[in-house]
C-alpha cells in the first residue's frame, strides 16, 4: 500500500509531459528543413496517423525521419532513466548507472566487432544486434562471476565484478581497434551515443525488449522498494530477496542492452535523472519510477533537438549534449543539496 497524497508527483509529471510535448513539436518542425507550425504541419501529422502519407518530400522527412527519431528519443530516455533508478536501488549505490556492471563495455565490444570486421553493412541491424548480444553476454558474465552461490555482500561483489569485466572487455576492444585503426571512425561515433540515422527499424527492434523489461521493473517496484532497505530487512518484511534480485538484474540488463543497442552510449541520463527524481520526491520507487520515465523522455527529446539543431547542419552526438547539459546540472544539485 501507499498513501495517496502524491500531488507533488502529479505536478512534476505534468511539467515533464508539457516539456515533452513542446520538445516534440519543436523536434518535428526544426531542422535543416524547417516546417512552420501551421495548418500544413497538422495536416501532415494527420495524414501520417491515418497511414496515407506519400513517403516523398516533406512528408518523408517528417514521417520517416523525425517522427521515429522523436519516438526513439522518448523511449531511450525513459528506458535509460528507469534502468538507472533500478540499478541504483539494486546496488544500493548512488553512483550506479545503467552502464556500471559491464553492459556498456559488452555493447561496445559487440558493436566494435561489427564495425571493425565489416559486419556493419551486412544487415541494417547488424550493429545493434551485435551490441545487444554483447551487452547481455557481459552482464550475464558479471552476474555469474559476481554473485554465483555467494549470499553476502552481493552488491559489492556485483560492482567489483562489473568493473573488472568492463576493464577486460575495454582492453579487448582496444586491441581490435589497434588492429583495424582504419575502420574505427564510425565506431567512435557510435560510442559517443547518437540517434542520427535511426528510424522505424530501430524503433521496432527496441520496442519488444523495452516493453517487456519495463513491465517487469514496474511490477517489481514494491519489492525493489524493500530490497533497497537491505537484504535482511527486506526479507523480514516478506520480500524474497534472491529471486527478486535475480529477476530485476535480468530485466534491468535487458532494458539497458536494448537501449544501448539502438542508441550507443548516451551518458548521464541514467545517472542524473534518478537522482533528480529522488531529490524531488523521496525514495519510494512507485513514485520515482514513473516520474523518472517521464523526465528521462523529456530530457532526451530536448537533448536530441539540441544535438540536431545547435550546430546545424553538423550534428553533435546526443551523448555529448547530455553530458554537457547533465554534468553542470548534476553539480548544481550536488552543491545545493550540500547546503
Amino acid at each position: 500500500m501507499f498513501f495517496a497524497d502524491s500531488s507533488r508527483a502529479m505536478v512534476v509529471c505534468c511539467v515533464a509531459l508539457v516539456v515533452w510535448a513542446l520538445g516534440a513539436c519543436a523536434s518535428l518542425c526544426f531542422g535543416v528543413v524547417a516546417i512552420p507550425l501551421d495548418g500544413v504541419f497538422w495536416g501532415l501529422l494527420w495524414k501520417g496517423l491515418r497511414g496515407t502519407h506519400s513517403g516523398v518530400g516533406i512528408e518523408a522527412i517528417v514521417w520517416d525521419v523525425r517522427v521515429p527519431r522523436l519516438l526513439l528519443a522518448t523511449l531511450v530516455g525513459a528506458g535509460l532513466s528507469v534502468a538507472g533508478v533500478t540499478w541504483q536501488a539494486l546496488l544500493r549505490n548512488p553512483l550506479a548507472d545503467p552502464y556500471l556492471i559491464g553492459t556498456s563495455a559488452g555493447a561496445a565490444l559487440g558493436a566494435g566487432i561489427a564495425f571493425l570486421f565489416g559486419f556493419a553493412g551486412v544487415f541494417a541491424w547488424s550493429v545493434s544486434a551485435m551490441a545487444f548480444s554483447g551487452a547481455l553476454g557481459a552482464t550475464a558474465l558479471v552476474y555469474r562471476l559476481g554473485i554465483g552461490p555467494a549470499s553476502t555482500q552481493v552488491t559489492e561483489r556485483l560492482i567489483l565484478a562489473g568493473v573488472a569485466v568492463s576493464a577486460f572487455l575495454g582492453a579487448a576492444l582496444s586491441v581490435l581497434v589497434a588492429v583495424r585503426t582504419d575502420a574505427a571512425a564510425p565506431l567512435y561515433l557510435w560510442l559517443m551515443g547518437s540517434l542520427l540515422g535511426r528510424g522505424w527499424a530501430e524503433l521496432y527492434q527496441l520496442l519488444p525488449p523495452l516493453v517487456l523489461s519495463l513491465a517487469v521493473v514496474f511490477w517489481f517496484a514494491p519489492r525493489l522498494n524493500l530490497l533497497q532497505l537491505g537484504d535482511e530487512l527486506a526479507f523480514g518484511l516478506g520480500c524474497n530477496v534472491v529471486s527478486t534480485r535475480r529477476t530485476l538484474v535480468m530485466a534491468a540488463s535487458l532494458l539497458t542492452a536494448a537501449v544501448v543497442a539502438v542508441s550507443g552510449m548516451i551518458g548521464f541520463v541514467g545517472l542524473v535523472v534518478p537522482h533528480w527524481c529522488r531529490l524531488l520526491l523521496g525514495p519510494d520507487l512507485r513514485v520515482v519510477l514513473p516520474l523518472a520515465a517521464c523526465l528521462g523522455a523529456s530530457l532526451l527529446v530536448v537533448a536530441d533537438l539540441c544535438a540536431r539543431t545547435l550546430l546545424m547542419p553538423t550534428e553533435i552526438p546526443v551523448g555529448v549534449v547530455t553530458a554537457l547539459m547533465g554534468a553542470p546540472f548534476f553539480l548544481s544539485l550536488l552543491v545545493r543539496s550540500g547546503r
Binding site: M1, F2, F3, A4, R92, S151, T152, A221, P222, R223, N225, L226, Q228, L229, G230, E232, L233, F235, G236, L237, G238, C239, N240, R278, G282, P283, D284, R286
Partner: protein, 285 residues
C-alpha cells in the same frame, strides 16, 4: 499449547562456519525473551536463524507449529517480524511511508493506495510507538531514538505475533534505551506479542524480559530461565568475565547488577594502566 517458536537440536552456522550445536529452545506465545552473551557467541546468528534469514546446518526450526522452510517468504512475514542490526541508510523516507512498507506481507496490490485496514494498522502502530506526531517528517529529521521507534512501528504494522529484534538499543543514548524498551514492553503486553531480542545490557534484560537465554563461546546455550535466577554474580563472572554486585531495585523489586571493582582505587581510576603507558612515551604531555 503450541509453542510460538521451537528449535530442536539446531546447528547454527554462518557461511559454513559452525557457531553453536545442539541448540534447543521453546518459546511460548506471549513470552519475552532476551538473548545474551559476549560478542561472537552467535546471538545474531541464532536470531537470524529464527527469522529464517539463515538456514540451520542441521536440526529443525518450527514457527507457530509449522516447519520454517514450509513458509513462503510473504506468509512468513505475517507470522514473524524481524529487525536486523541497524544500519541507518534509508533516511529519505517519510515516516508514514516507511511504516506503510510493513504492510507489504498483507497487501493485495502494492501499487494501489492502502485499504482502510492497512491505513488503520499504520496509524495504530504509530500510536502504539508514539511516533504519530512525526508521520509527515522524513526519517533524517529524527534522532536515533525516534528512528528506532519508527522501525518498531514498521514491524508492528506487519501485525506478526512474533517479534525478533537484534540489539535494538545499541546505538541509543540512555533515555532512548529506556524509553524504547518501555514502549516495546507495553506493546508486547497489550497486544499479546511474543518477543525475542538480542541485548547487551544485562539490566535492561532483567528489567524488561522475563526470560533470558545466555550463549557462551564454544559452549552454545549455557543458561535458559528467569532473568533473576540465571544472572547470579557467580554466573556473570563465569560467562562475561565481570565481577558484579547484585542489588534489588527499589521500584520493581527486580534484581539489578553493578560492576564491582577490586579496590576503590580501581573504581576511581579505571585508566591507570593506560596512563602509566603514556608516561613511558617521550613528550606525552
Amino acid at each position: 499449547m503450541n509453542p510460538m517458536l521451537q528449535l530442536d537440536e539446531v546447528t547454527l552456522a554462518r557461511q559454513e562456519r559452525v557457531i553453536a550445536q545442539g541448540v534447543t529452545i521453546r518459546v511460548n506465545p506471549g513470552e519475552t525473551v532476551a538473548i545474551l552473551g559476549a560478542n561472537g557467541t552467535g546471538k545474531s546468528t541464532l536470531l537470524a536463524t529464527m527469522a529464517g534469514c539463515l538456514q540451520p546446518q542441521s536440526g529443525r526450526v518450527m514457527l507457530a507449529g509449522q516447519p520454517l522452510q514450509h513458509y513462503q517468504t510473504r506468509a512468513l512475514a505475517r507470522v514473524r517480524a524481524y529487525i536486523p542490526q541497524m544500519q541507518s541508510m534509508h533516511l529519505g523516507w517519510r515516516v508514514k511511508d516507511f511504516i506503510a512498507l510493513g504492510r507489504y506481507p498483507h497487501a493485495a496490490n502494492d501499487w494501489l493506495p492502502g485499504r482502510p485496514a492497512d491505513e488503520q494498522a499504520v496509524f495504530q502502530a504509530a500510536a502504539a510507538t508514539g511516533v504519530t506526531d512525526w508521520l509527515d517528517r522524513p526519517l533524517q529529521n529524527l534522532s536515533g531514538g525516534q528512528r528506532q521507534r519508527v522501525y518498531l512501528a514498521q514491524i508492528l504494522a506487519q501485525e506478526a505475533p512474533l517479534l525478533l529484534l537484534d540489539e535494538p538499543t545499541t546505538y541509543l543514548d540512555w533515555h532512548g534505551q529506556i524509553t524504547f524498551m518501555q514502549t516495546l514492553n507495553n506493546v508486547c503486553a497489550t497486544q499479546g506479542l511474543t518477543l525475542v531480542t538480542v541485548l547487551h545490557d544485562l539490566n535492561l534484560a532483567i528489567q524488561f524480559c522475563r526470560r533470558v537465554i545466555v550463549l557462551a563461546p564454544e559452549r552454545g546455550i549455557v543458561a535458559d530461565g528467569p532473568a533473576s535466577n540465571v544472572l547470579t554474580p557467580l554466573f556473570v563472572r563465569d560467562v562475561f568475565g565481570i565481577t558484579v554486585h547484585r542489588h534489588t531495585h527499589p521500584d520493581s523489586g527486580h534484581t539489578f547488577l553493578i560492576p564491582a571493582f577490586e579496590s576503590p582505587a580501581d573504581a576511581m581510576q579505571p585508566l591507570v594502566l593506560h596512563q602509566s603507558g603514556l608516561q613511558d612515551m617521550p613528550n606525552a604531555h
